[in-house]
Amino acid sequence: MNFDFTQQELMLFKEINDIMFGLARERTLEEKDPISAESLLREALDRLAKTSYLKLGIAQSKDIPGLCAMMGAMEIVSSCSPSLYLSIEMSTRLFGRIISTYGNEKQKAKWLSPVLYGKKLGAVALLEKTMNIDNDPMATIGIRENALIKISGVKNYVINGPVADFIAVAGTMENKPALFIVEKGIKGLIQGKRLETIGLDGVVISGLTLENCQINEDQIIGQFEDKSILTTLRIWENQIILGSCLGMMKSSFESARTYAKTHKTGGKPIIAYQEVGFKLAEMLTLFQTSQLFAYRAVCAPEGKNRDFEVLTYCAKVFCTEAAEKVSGWALQILSGEGYISGNPAERSYRCAKYNQIAGTSTEISRVKIGDAAIGA
């Protein structure tokens, strides 16, 4: 047992912190305009690629910190901007991890290296119109025609969809799950219009339609023998969401704490009032509990009994609900100041719901945890 980060890990955190705060000094990190959002994203990737951040959890070497440190590092990026964080993560920790885990050497050279060096952007299209992958089969399908494969299907929400250089599209081929890598500009790929959302202002999201997009055999990852690949992708997405929650709690808590110590009413800082000070105490309790929970879940051994999956669902439910509470309380403490757009608490509060919906939703997570308990 060990509850400390190593010196090497702490150094990495400092580097990431410096990069993110440097970027925040230069430009707004929650860019609403899609063109600015894309340029910000590429700039951030370029800078972060100078550290081992993009490689965490993907490339393995003794110079690259492990998964707990990955979670610690994710927290820092997410605390600076939930939108930028999610866009980066869908490219690296989801798209990149898919290629690194399931791709062959040629595929890695083509798609993984540019993503890990921050030169290219990835996206993953999983969810389909009115279908949740946990309940329903996927309708996106790849049909072999001579040496080519034609992909057709509709994907509902794809983060980085409109700007990604490579998209991993989940579907089935010959009744087996597979991932099709489509590249930007491919014929038959129709971008939906950018979706307006309650939070995550700077994330570029759209639906995607694939109409007989033609790809080669070496653009297929899989075909997989069973649906467990989809579970794995969800677990990785859930890990990304855990990092997002920690960052939101960090920024909300810190802004509320600073305000409570400096803002005075009745001649004293508002932290001196138990209604405020005790809320901060509860916020920090949820935040620290979430941190330890997320660290433990992410570095739990992937044993045969798949208990680590259940632990991830547990952490996801806890951290996503905690993030909403903590950002809500922060907003309450910041009051008028917090209600004004651009405040970290206001921003986190609007983003928090996404984390409960996306990945394995809170409801489905609880059902899965319950199923595991009863051995279903």
Binding site: M1, F5, F278, A281, E282, F293, C314, V317, R366, A373
Partner: protein, 380 residues
């Protein structure tokens, strides 16, 4: 970071679970119903080595590290040992014996630790008073030095093991004008003239632990029964917090595992609307929440234990966070557990009803949740 236990630690935990299930759990419900302390179980805890697990072997202990000691507490909860017995063990080993071990002279250690570690003697700790609970420093029990004796006067309240203890570690003021800094700690033996315990209080939960008032009326004790130096008492009481926030919280973590198992068994067997209730999502939701609590609490508790094993001074912020989380959140799983059992859950036959009552102490004992919030809000 690394959240894994060693193989030896896990094997020991399983041994404790097996021991407790066989030797202790079968008598729990009966003693709870009668509100009686289970002397036999306590003696067995001593025989097995749990009461003195972390003390050095020369003093009759097991020489275990803190994590292993905390794991034993979790194991007792996981086996289904009631909150009364784990509280009695906690007050005895950590609040009483450990204070003597840490601050006592060699002679005091030799005299008390072996007998406390074996369970031959039962210990208690008296800090709280009828009018000084959260505000400990306002205690009024006094200890006046007269020659080679101290004379104690005052009352202590809610003292776990009070009516059955052979040895009490008692906090009293030697210099009342100094508030915290005027508090000292003493060892008082059963049978000392002027020292008595009130009858056991009738409580909603933790009913197998006996709780009472301690009364000191011109109670003379030898000056050598002072622990450490005069004025060190408050710091000593604060140091017990390390155990309070790890070993005393661990049974709640174990209890969540126990509840999950019990509820799962029940839900799989109970059929309504033609199918086991375990198949309803509403039941799975509750099972999930029970598991989530246990998993969330675990790392908070072991973080305190690990830091203590590293010889680090207690991080008061982390300690208060652990206590606040376990205190406030450990009740919901017991509420859910009763609900899963329906009407049977409300009856004593199924022990979830007892666990529900026992858990209510978590946000009160050892410093209420409000006090934890006060500490946290001051430290941030």
């Amino acid at each position: 970071m690394d959240f894994d236990f060693t193989k030896e630690q896990l094997m020991f935990k399983q041994e404790v679970v097996r021991f407790a299930k066989k030797e202790i759990v079968p008598r729990v419900q009966e003693h709870d119903l009668k509100g009686e302390f289970d002397f036999e179980s306590f003696r067995k805890l001593g025989e097995f080595g749990i009461l003195g697990l972390h003390f050095p072997e020369e003093l009759g202990g097991g020489g275990a590290d803190v994590i292993t000691t905390v794991l034993a507490g979790e194991a007792l909860g996981e086996a289904g040992v009631d909150g009364g017995l784990t509280l009695a063990y906690g007050a005895h080993t950590f609040l009483c014996a450990d204070t003597i071990f840490r601050h006592g002279t060699e002679a005091q250690k030799q005299k008390y630790i072996p007998k406390l570690a074996s369970g031959e003697w039962i210990g208690c700790m008296g800090l709280t008073e009828p009018n000084a609970g959260s505000d400990v420093a306002s205690m009024t029990t006094s200890a006046e030095k007269k020659g080679d004796k101290y004379v104690l006067n005052g009352n202590k309240m809610f003292i776990t093991n009070g009516p059955i203890a052979d040895v009490a570690v008692v906090y009293a003021k030697t210099q009342p004008e100094l508030q915290h800094a005027g508090i000292s700690s003493f060892i008082v033996n059963k049978g000392t003239k002027g020292f008595s315990a009130g009858p056991p209080l009738i409580k909603m939960g933790v009913r197998t632990s006996h709780t009472s008032e301690l009364i000191f009326q011109d109670c003379e004790i030898p000056a050598e029964n002072l622990l450490g130096k005069e004025g060190d008492g408050f710091l000593m009481a604060m140091q017990t917090v390390e155990w309070d926030r790890s070993a005393l919280l661990a049974p709640f973590v174990g209890s969540a595992t126990y509840l999950l198992k019990k509820c799962t068994q029940y839900a799989k067997g109970r059929v309504q609307f033609g199918r086991p209730i375990a198949q309803f999502q509403a039941i799975k939701h509750k099972l999930a929440d029970i598991r989530i609590f246990g998993e969330a609490a675990r790392s908070l508790v072991y973080r305190i234990a690990w830091c203590k094993d590293q010889g680090r001074p207690l991080n008061h912020l982390e300690a208060a966070i652990a206590k606040l989380y376990v205190g406030d959140w450990s009740m919901a799983p017991t509420f859910d557990a009763v609900l899963i059992h329906g009407g049977y859950g409300y009856c004593h036959e199924y022990d979830v009803e007892r666990i529900f009552r026992d858990s209510r102490l978590a946000p009160i004992g050892g410093g209420t949740s409000d006090i934890q919030k006060m500490i946290i809000s001051k430290l941030i």
